[in-house]
């Protein structure tokens, strides 16, 4: 039986621990997502202007919904395409 040390792994053993995702709203104590604040909401969009899913933003369900609602209002309101600076 091969001794443990002699086992050669084809790919490198993934040792780095992935940093635990946290909900930034809970951590910073933000309670209200302002739909007028374009700069802040931009963080939740990818470059094509689509909304990032929860598993990437790490938001809790409650705040992900608030962000989604705010973004939809922002798009309707600022009437600016996501790609343009708004």
């Amino acid at each position: 039986m091969a001794v443990k040390q002699e086992i050669k792994y084809l790919t490198a053993v993934k040792t780095e621990k992935r940093q635990k995702k946290y909900c930034r709203f809970k951590k910073l104590g933000i309670k209200y997502v302002d739909y007028k604040d374009a700069e802040f909401l931009k963080k939740f969009l990818n470059d094509q202007g689509k909304m990032l899913p929860r598993r990437i933003t790490g938001n809790s369900l409650k705040f992900q919904r608030k962000v989604a609602e705010a973004i939809k209002k922002l798009v309707k309101w600022r009437c600016c395409l996501m790609l343009l600076t708004f």
């Binding site: 309670k31 209200y32 302002d34 739909y35 007028k36 209002k73 309707k76 309101w77 600022r78 009437c79 600016c80 395409l81 343009l84 708004f86």
Partner: protein, 117 residues
């Protein structure tokens, strides 16, 4: 008396005092029907992504006010009737939102003038 936030886009063609007079008109509508304006925040001209009524820029005004619940219907009728208004939206503010706006306005007071009606 719940808090509301009215956001309106006016047509850019109207001049300065026209904009003021229209804003005044809506302010009166709110205050007549028992509402009370907390803060008016004109954003000025902003470009639109797609032309609304053949206009590519709009005059943005955000008005925060407290009002009885039945006031919005009256306001809507007024806004629909006015042809200078391109688009309007009334959102209800919960207590966190009011606190947020107050805090933001606190820091904003330093530079911009706020219209206290």
């Amino acid at each position: 008396m719940s808090n509301y936030e009215l956001m309106v886009i006016y047509t850019p063609v109207l001049s300065e005092e026209d904009a003021k007079s229209i804003q005044k008109k809506f302010a009166d509508v709110i205050s007549d029907n028992g509402g009370q304006i907390v803060h008016e925040n004109p954003w000025g001209l902003k470009s639109l992504a797609y032309p609304i009524q053949k206009k590519t820029t709009g005059l943005y005004v955000v008005v925060e006010f407290t009002a009885p619940s039945d006031l919005n219907e009256k306001l809507k009728i007024q806004l629909n009737r006015d042809e200078n208004v391109l688009r309007y939206m009334v959102t209800k503010l919960d207590k966190h939102a009011v606190a947020y706006n107050a805090r933001k306005r606190g820091s904003l007071n330093a530079e911009s003038k706020t219209v206290e009606a």
